[in-house]
C-alpha cells in the first residue's frame, strides 16, 4: 500500500493502519530529527511528538500526495521549538570556544584537537567521521542545515523542501548552495580530505 492509500484507510476509520505508517516512517523521520538535533534522547522524544501530531492532524491534511512534505514540516517545526528551548537552557562558555576553535572561530571537534595533518597516515574510522560530519553540520546556520539534511539524507526534491519549510524554491536552492560551500570550507579547514576517509568516494 502506498502512503496515500494508507492515509485514505486511516481517514476512512481504520486507525490501525496508522501503525503501518509509523513503521514505514519511523526510521527516516528519526534519522532526520537526530541529524537536526544531534541528540538521541531528544530525537526519540521529538519523533514521538511528530507521530502524535501527525495522528491528531491527519484529517486536516488537504493534499494527501504531499504527505512527505507535510510530515517533515511538522518534524522541522518541532525541532525548531526544541532548539529554542535548548538555547534558553544551555550556553557555551567563551573560554571553551577560545580553547577549541581554529583561527576562524570554527569549533573544532575533539576528534580534531589533534589535527589529522599531524597524523597523515591515519585513516579515520566510520564513527570518527560520523562525529566530524555531525560537528561540521552543527557549524552551519540552522536554515542551511535543515535544507542540507532534507536533501542529502532524506532525498527530498527541492520543491518538496520548499513546501515543507514554506519558503520559495530559489531560497531553498540558495541555502543549499551556501550550506554546501560552508561545509566544504569547514572540511578543508579540518583537512578532511579523501586520504583520511575510510574508503574512496
Amino acid at each position: 500500500m502506498t502512503d496515500t492509500q494508507l492515509i485514505s484507510s486511516i481517514l476512512d476509520g481504520d486507525r490501525s493502519k496508522f501503525n503501518a505508517l509509523v513503521w514505514r516512517w519511523e526510521k527516516p523521520l528519526y534519522n532526520f530529527i537526530l541529524r537536526y538535533l544531534g541528540n538521541r534522547e531528544l530525537a526519540r522524544e521529538v519523533t514521538q511528538k511528530t507521530f502524535i501530531r501527525v495522528y491528531q492532524n491527519l484529517s486536516k491534511l488537504r493534499d494527501v500526495t504531499k504527505f512527505s512534505s507535510w510530515i517533515y514540516q511538522i518534524a522541522a517545526n518541532l525541532c525548531r521549538d526544541e532548539i529554542k528551548k535548548r538555547d534558553h537552557r544551555q550556553f557555551i562558555s567563551l573560554d571553551m570556544i577560545q580553547q577549541n576553535s581554529d583561527e576562524n572561530g570554527v569549533l573544532l571537534p575533539e576528534e580534531l584537537q589533534q589535527s589529522p595533518a599531524q597524523q597523515p597516515d591515519v585513516r579515520m574510522n566510520q564513527k570518527q567521521l560520523r562525529t566530524i560530519v555531525q560537528k561540521a553540520l552543527e557549524q552551519l546556520p540552522e536554515e542551511q542545515r535543515v535544507v542540507i539534511i532534507m536533501k542529502e539524507y532524506q532525498g527530498l526534491k527541492f520543491r518538496e523542501i520548499a513546501e515543507a519549510l514554506n519558503e520559495p524554491l530559489n531560497t531553498i536552492k540558495s541555502r543549499m548552495y551556501y550550506g554546501l560551500n560552508g561545509l566544504r570550507k569547514i572540511f578543508e579547514q579540518w583537512q578532511i580530505t579523501e586520504e583520511v576517509l575510510p574508503h574512496e568516494l
Binding site: D12, G13, R15, S16, F18, N19, V22, E26, K27, P28, Y30, N31, L34, R35, R40, R44, T47, Q48, F51, I52, Y55, Q126, L129, R130, V133, Q134, L137, I148, K151, E152, Y153, K157, F158, N170, K173, S174, M176, Y177, L180, N181, L183, R184, F187, I192, E194, L197, P198, L201
Partner: protein
C-alpha cells in the same frame, strides 16, 4: 551568464533535478568555466563526505495505535459505504423504508376494548395459521364472545335492578308524603272543630253573664226608684 547566475542550476544539476532546457543552458556555461567545474567537483566531494553519516535504526518502539472500536463504529462505516450520497437521498431511503414498515404494521394492527381495557396487537409478517391453531383461535373467540355476552347481560340486570329500586323508592316516598298531608288535614280539622266549640261555649257564657248583668242592673234601677 555569470557563475553567480548558475548557482541555482548548479544545485539542480548536482542533484539531477535539472530540466532538459536548463541542462543545455547550464552545460553551455559549464563546458567553458573552470571555476564552476572546480566548484562542482568540490561540492560533489562534500556531498560524498556527508554520506559518511549513515542512517541508524531507532532503538526503541514508537507509539502504536491500538484503538478498540465499538461494533457500532463498524456499523456506521458500513452504512456510510452502503448508503447512497448525498445525505438527502439517504434520509429519503430511510424515510421510505420506515413508512412502508409503518403501513404494513398499521394494516395488521388490531385494537379492541374489552372489560374497560384497551388492547392493541400489531405484527408485520404474521405466520400462516394451522388447522389446530384455527380451532384454538375459534374456541378462544367463542369464549371471548360468551364472556362479552355474559358481561352485557350482567350489566343489563344490574341496571334493571337499580331502576326498579329507584322506582319503588320514589313511589314509597310519594305515599309517605300523601299520608303526611292527610294526617295534617285531619289535625287541622280537629283543631278547627275544637276552636269552634270553645267559641260557642264562650259565647253562651258571655250571653249568660250579659243576661245576669242586665237583670242585676234592672233590679238596681228598680230599687233606686
Amino acid at each position: 551568464m555569470s557563475c553567480k547566475d548558475m548557482q541555482s542550476l548548479l544545485m539542480d544539476f548536482l542533484y539531477d533535478e535539472i530540466s532538459d532546457a536548463d541542462r543545455e543552458l547550464f552545460l553551455a556555461h559549464f563546458a567553458r568555466c573552470k571555476s564552476c567545474q572546480q566548484e562542482y567537483i568540490a561540492l560533489k566531494r562534500t556531498s560524498g563526505i556527508l554520506q559518511e553519516w549513515e542512517d541508524v535504526d531507532p532503538d526503541f518502539n514508537f507509539i502504536v495505535v491500538n484503538e478498540k472500536r465499538h461494533w457500532t463504529d463498524y456499523l456506521k462505516d458500513l452504512l456510510a459505504k452502503l448508503l447512497p450520497q448525498p445525505k438527502i437521498v439517504t434520509y429519503g431511503v430511510i424515510g421510505s423504508v420506515v413508512g412502508i414498515f409503518l403501513l404494513l404494521a398499521a394494516a395488521n394492527t388490531e385494537i379492541s376494548y374489552q372489560q374497560q381495557q384497551f388492547r392493541i396487537r400489531f405484527g408485520l409478517f404474521q405466520k400462516p395459521i394451522s388447522a389446530e391453531q384455527t380451532d384454538h383461535l375459534a374456541t378462544q373467540r367463542l369464549i371471548e364472545q360468551l364472556q362479552q355476552e355474559n358481561y352485557l347481560l350482567m350489566t343489563s340486570l344490574i341496571q334493571q335492578s337499580e331502576a326498579r329500586q329507584r322506582k319503588e323508592m320514589t313511589s314509597a316516598m310519594i305515599q309517605l308524603r300523601q299520608d303526611i298531608e292527610r294526617q295534617r288535614i285531619e289535625d287541622l280539622n280537629l283543631v278547627g272543630f275544637g276552636l269552634e266549640n270553645i267559641e260557642r261555649n264562650t259565647y253562651h257564657r258571655i250571653q249568660k253573664t250579659d243576661n245576669s248583668l242586665n237583670e242585676f242592673i234592672r233590679l238596681i234601677n228598680a230599687r233606686s226608684k
